[in-house]
Amino acid sequence: MEIVMSVLAGLLFMTGVYNLLQKQLLRIVIGTALISHGAHLTILTMGKLKDGAAPILTDGVENYTDPLPQALILTSIVISFGVTSLLLVLAYRASKINHTDNMEKLRGNDYE
């Protein structure tokens, strides 16, 4: 299953990157979201999958799934959420001020 998940993570990265390389802001932001999903799925896969019970101590259960990746993912999810929200608002503002949602038109050589 880990291999399937690795492939799926790779696919999420692939689609994420493909979207990231597009011109329209919406697609780009969608791309970043897909990449985050890919990253989180990878972290999860890198612990052992289904190797024991959910990491909540229960009497009589000896084997638990690796809890550390889960903790890391949780931190990362929250951070990604923060960045994505900022990115969305920024995308909105930038496209309003620059009158375009086309990244290729947001090249620009003026810095004032």
Binding site: L68, I79, A94, E112
Partner: protein
């Protein structure tokens, strides 16, 4: 005593949170910020001194023993860099009010500033890879806040690119940490070093190391990953650019230095040779960039890149001398980049433009500014006896001792290119007829901008002329860095 280690993170963190509560009261914010940075400076100096004396402080946060909990490791290298950060921060916070608009100050500049410092210090001090990721996010998020501050058209445009590229590299970062975790079962840096050593960095580990390098190299602006840098360092306010130029790329360089001396040092022929070549191209393309424009701020921004090449060169050559060179250069570059961005802020403020073609004759009106700029040009170009020379000399020595002729020659030519790009500003902007520019009759006073820069610049000169005061410390740090056992032992206490 080891609790001290976390203070350089906690103090700016608390300051950043507190100052948010009275962000509309500028007078109070400014006074509070200056006091806080000065205390922070004193604190980091104290930590550096005591680390020099009594060795590395390791704080196991929350009392969770290493390698299970998070450790904060104030070793000589980290202590040195937090101290330098504090120096730059102090100058920046004094300079800020003159440079920022009221609205920028009010909208959480000081909070962003302090949290940026907290993030930077955290990145220098942490002994845990995932925690490093978190601190990266803190400093990045603070930098996002700073770069958009003011909502200029170009600012929004460039910050979008800046955030997207950094977001991508952050995601690659966590992914890579998980790869590493899968193989060696830990995220503690000391234990990672130990375990990677046990299997002699075999199999997939080198690739993981390279991915990690790319993550840091994106932050550090190494060839071919620096594209985001020039514009995004040009659009924000001068004081923000100074913080970015002095601190952000250096966090990347530090991370490369740390991971590739501590953890991934078993395939030196492959990885570090790659660094040498990348360093070479970083210098070349950085210098070419610096020569490519007439926008003075952009020239300075491009000059961030070859400096990164110099530091990476030392890591790539990987001897005690060259590492000492990189560390010396790191400290030097943090200070001089702050100086240059702050100075160029004053220059554009005085000239009313950042286009070199529209400038001229400024030295007749602002001699102090002009000479400070000239001196900092010499410092940057590595003219002896200023600070850039000491680091460069060590790098050249390291390079020639290892018979890395090509990179040495590229480094020498780059120095000339750096000097050329900077002296163009001096000749074009400061020299020339006195009345060539249409300056206002009432010249604005730049004193509030120049004196904090003056202190930084004097420090930078002292770092060169008084190298005897600093070099022995740097040399012993390099010796320490090249012996990863010392770090591992002090964290894992075996």
């Amino acid at each position: 005593m080891s609790n001290l280690a976390i203070l350089p993170i906690l103090l700016p963190f608390l300051a950043g949170v507190l100052v948010a509560f009275f962000h509309k009261n500028l007078i109070a914010s400014r006074i509070f910020s200056i006091i806080a940075t000065v205390i922070h400076l004193a604190l980091t100096i104290f930590i550096f001194m005591s680390v020099q004396e009594s060795g590395t402080y390791v704080l196991e946060v929350g009392g969770w023993e290493a390698p299970f909990g998070i450790v904060i490791v104030a070793d000589p290298l980290s202590a040195l860099l937090t101290m330098t950060t504090a120096v730059v921060a102090t100058a920046a916070v004094i300079y800020a009010p003159k440079s920022l608009s009221r609205i920028q100050e009010e909208f959480y500049f000081y909070s962003f500033f302090f949290l940026l410092i907290a993030g930077v210090n955290g990145a220098f001090l942490t002994g845990d890879l995932f925690n490093l990721f978190v601190f990266f996010e803190v400093l990045l998020m603070a930098s996002y806040g700073l770069i958009v501050l003011g909502n200029g058209k170009a600012q929004l445009r460039e910050s979008l690119k800046y955030i997207l590229i950094n977001l991508f590299s952050s995601m690659l970062f966590v992914t890579t940490i998980s790869f590493l975790y899968s193989v060696i079962g830990t995220v503690n840096m000391a234990q990672a070093a130990e375990r990677v050593g046990e299997v002699e960095q075999q199999g997939v580990l080198t690739v993981i190391g390279i991915l990690l390098f790319f993550v840091f190299a994106t932050k550090a602006a190494v060839f071919p990953l620096y594209y985001w840098l020039p514009s995004s360092y040009t659009v924000p306010n001068a004081v923000v650019s100074a913080l970015f130029g002095a601190l952000l790329t250096k966090v990347g360089v530090y991370s490369i230095l740390r991971t590739f001396t501590l953890i991934f040092n078993y395939e030196v022929d492959l990885t570090h040779t790659l660094f040498i070549y990348l360093a070479m191209f970083t210098m070349i393309f950085g210098v070419i960039g610096a020569l490519s424009t007439n926008n003075v701020k952009l020239i300075i921004a491009y000059n961030v890149i070859p400096a990164v090449g110099f530091m990476l060169m030392g890591i790539g050559i990987f001897t005690e001398t060259s590492i000492a060179g990189s560390i010396y250069y790191l400290v030097h570059d943090m200070i001089i980049k702050a100086v240059l961005f702050l100075l160029i802020g004053a220059v554009t403020y005085a000239a009313g433009t950042s286009d070199l073609k529209k400038m001229g004759g400024l030295i007749h009106h602002y001699p102090v500014l002009g000479w400070m700029f000239f001196l900092s040009t010499l410092v940057l170009a590595g003219i002896p006896p200023f600070s850039g020379f000491i680091g460069k000399l060590l790098l050249l020595q390291g390079g020639l001792n290892q018979e890395e002729i090509l990179i040495v020659i590229v480094a020498l030519i780059s120095s000339l290119g750096i000097l050329f790009s900077m002296i163009r500003i001096f000749i074009g902007g400061f020299w020339g007829e006195a009345d060539i520019m249409d300056l206002p009759k009432q010249k604005p006073s730049l004193a509030a901008m120049t004196w904090p820069v003056g202190i930084l610049l004097s420090l930078s000169i002292l770092l060169g002329v008084g190298a005897e005061m600093f070099y022995p410390a740097v040399s012993s740090i390099a010796e320490y860095v090249m012996d990863p056992e010392l770090y591992i032992e002090s964290v894992l206490k075996e």
